[in-house]
């Protein structure tokens, strides 16, 4: 039953690192258990002085601890790796202290076996002991040495599996996990967030249930947390993202992850405290080589909570995406500004008319004032009234100029609560003259007290002006009609509808009127409606085109009400 002594061979695959090479025990009679055993190759060279002291009878009180302070892992087999190893794999166990990975309940038997195998102490001590382990209900553990490696003691563990499937299930699952972890094309780091549990327990004992304000008031706590939560592994993606060459560069405090986004750490801690399963946010990440990246961080807190040693932080680098989006927004802003300026040019007559009205009133009022003043009995009360009107007309002209300037200005689109009725009325300023000069009947049914929408005033004006111009041009001469309507729909969205008296949209064009460069006009280039759609889309709204059953085209856009 007890296997023969194990013999070690050097394996030429140097996976164990340059220090040991691969050590493989010759299994001999042990072979039949090969699949169900786990073994360690332990380097006891540093423990020789303690072993000598024990043999001489001058053992320190904690002789087990003293002995293991000098016992390092020279190699392990796959089963052992799966059962006890870190995610980083064999490379991260080699050279480490045996006690870092071996469960404490096996330390005493392990120490006895090392003494028996390495020093034959005490005389006649057995090289095999019965053990109970997580994998083996009733198992054994045996020690052996190999003359070729005098400082290596092999400890093998075996027996009948307590549950045939459990070891394999664990093994397969661990392997799947490790494969996934290392080969997923995103950046993952594994952290051990167990130290947070004591902190959370303490906070709860002290009656703190809302941790966010506490973290704000106690800035040392998030800093301390960043120090005690340790990175225990990182995959290739993480190395690449963080500009690291070796996993070891990332091991240790998780601090560096939050260096550029300290508030993110607070939110990650808060989510953990609130026992969420995960947390996702966009943050800035400073890489080891000093680059600043925009990343989407997702933290997965494992369940059950005792597996918090494998809390996973995932990172998706969205720097380029954000940059592209910003460029796109800029391009769109430039483009819509160009369209507005061209629109202003086309509407010069209409705009001139709008400004000329108050100017005309100003001139007449001023001249009338002079007439009152040049009389023998100047009517100062009347002059006062006239100058007030002059000021009022001046303000009106100035407002018009300001709106035109708003249309022409280069500025970043904003998101402010807006009254769509005002937008429509302001947009009408640019086209009213055109509408009147063509004898087009305009009716506007603007529901009062509409909920506000979040958006950019100038851009939305541009949409309404574009739709109005479109409607004016659709009339084909002759007195036409344009009906405007602003209302709230059943979903609470604000809906603007414009119905023209033109011939409508040909069926085959209905689904492409919003496409770029679609036009039915001889002199049009077809950007107006495409721009409308793009602007409405960036406002989280929708725009549609249809034909009215009684004739004419209907364009309708809806925008979500501001909350």
């Amino acid at each position: 039953m007890v296997p023969e002594a194990l013999a070690a061979v050097e394996n030429d695959r140097a996976e164990g690192g340059p220090r040991y090479g691969r050590l493989l025990p010759r299994l001999g009679a042990f072979g039949q258990y090969a699949g169900t055993t786990a073994w360690w190759a332990l380097d006891i060279s540093e423990a020789r002085p303690v072993i000598a002291a024990i043999v001489e009878g001058s053992a320190p009180a904690d002789w087990v601890g003293a002995l293991f302070a000098g016992v390092r892992i020279a190699d392990i087999d796959e089963n052992n790796l799966h059962l006890l190893g870190p995610v980083g794999g064999r490379g991260r166990m080699i050279g480490e202290l045996f006690t870092r990975f071996c469960p404490p309940e096996s330390w005493r038997i392990g120490a006895d076996l090392i003494l028996a195998a390495a020093a034959g102490y005490p005389a006649g001590a057995p090289l095999t002991r019965d053990i109970t382990s997580i994998a083996f209900g009733n198992g054994w553990s045996t020690a052996s040495t190999d003359p070729a490696h005098p400082d290596i003691v092999f400890i093998a563990v075996g027996g009948v599996l307590s549950d045939d499937r459990s070891l394999w299930a664990v093994r397969a699952s661990e392997e799947r996990y490790r494969n996934l972890f290392h080969h997923l094309p995103c950046a993952l780091i594994q952290v051990d967030s167990r130290p947070m549990r004591a902190i959370f327990d303490d906070l709860r004992r002290r009656g703190i249930s809302d941790i966010a304000p506490y973290l704000d008031a106690t800035p040392d706590l998030p800093l301390h947390s960043r120090d005690i939560v340790q990175v225990t592994d990182a995959n290739r993606g993480a190395l690449e993202l963080l500009g690291a060459e070796r996993v070891e560069q990332l091991l240790g405090p998780v601090d560096f992850v939050f260096a550029a986004s300290p508030d993110s750490a607070k939110r990650v801690i808060t989510a953990h405290f609130e026992e969420r399963r995960n947390w996702v946010e966009v943050m800035k990440l400073r890489t080891l080589d000093g680059r600043l990246r925009d990343v989407e961080l997702s933290v997965t807190y494992p369940t059950p909570p005792d597996r918090l040693d494998v809390t996973i932080l995932g990172f998706v680098d969205i720097t380029e995406r954000l940059r592209t989006e910003a460029q796109l927004r800029q391009l769109e802003a430039d483009y819509s500004r160009a369209a507005r300026i061209s629109m202003l040019g086309e509407m010069a007559t209409s705009i001139a008319h709008e400004i000329n009205q108050p100017l005309s009133a100003i001139v007449t009022n001023a001249e009338t004032s002079q007439r009152w003043l040049s009389r023998e009995d100047p009517n100062l009360a009347k002059v006062g009234q006239l100058t007030a009107r002059i000021a009022e007309s001046g303000r009106r002209a100035s407002n018009i100029v300001q709106r035109i300037r708003g249309m022409a200005a280069r500025r970043a689109p904003e998101r402010v609560p807006l009254d769509l009725n005002e937008i429509v009325e302001e947009a009408l300023l640019f086209v009213r003259h055109d509408i009147e000069s063509r004898s087009i009947g305009l009716s506007a049914k603007l529901t009062r007290g509409l909920p506000r929408v979040l958006g950019d005033r100038v851009q939305l004006q541009q949409v309404v002006v574009n739709l109005l111009v479109n409607a004016v041009q659709a009339q084909n001469g002759g007195p036409g009609r344009i009906e405007l309507d602003a209302a709230v729909n059943a979903d609470g969205a604000v809906v603007f509808t414009i119905h023209d008296g033109g011939p409508g949209i040909a069926e085959e064009n209905l689904d492409r009127v919003f496409g770029s460069f679609f036009t039915t006009k001889d002199d049009g280039i077809g950007i107006g409606l495409a721009l409308c759609q793009s602007i409405i889309a960036t406002h989280q709204g929708t725009i549609t085109a249809s034909n009215h059953p009684e004739g004419g085209a209907v364009f309708q856009f809806s925008l979500p009400a501001a909350r």
């Binding site: 001139a352 008319h353 005309s360 009133a361 007449t364 004898s439």
Partner: protein, 126 residues
């Protein structure tokens, strides 16, 4: 002309309308204002005006149409146009329809008052 002249001012812009009214007032000319051509046409006393000063561009019927309808009603009162846009075609049309004067805004008080007095003094059929 026994009664003092009465002038109709038609403009859909409140500020312009009031300014014209005040200008006539300081010169001792009586006037009434209308926000649209329809309002003037609908007024039962339309026939009692001695002259019309009207804008060209207005929401419903424009100044030219107003002049045509007045003529169609048999009115020969002079019509003075004040417009804020420069459109020669419209101007020519207005003048050929018998407009008394045509001004582009802003009009000077002298010009307008001279034209108004000339129109009021001109012999008319009615």
């Amino acid at each position: 002309m026994s009664n003092p002249p009465l002038i109709a001012i038609v403009d859909d812009d409140d500020a312009v309308r009031e300014a014209l009214f005040d200008l006539l007032q300081v010169e001792g000319l009586a006037a009434r204002t209308f926000g649209s051509g329809e309002a003037l046409l609908a007024d039962t006393t339309a026939g009692s005006f001695d002259c019309v000063i009207t804008d060209v561009r207005m929401a419903e019927i424009d100044g030219l149409e107003l002049q045509r309808r007045l003529r169609a009603q048999g009115s020969s009162m002079p019509v003075i146009f004040i417009t804020s846009s420069v459109e020669d075609a419209t101007r020519a049309q207005a003048l050929s329809d018998g407009a008394a004067a045509w001004f582009t805004k802003p009009v000077t008080d002298e010009e307008l008052l001279d034209a108004l007095r000339a129109a009021l003094d001109a012999p008319r059929g009615k």
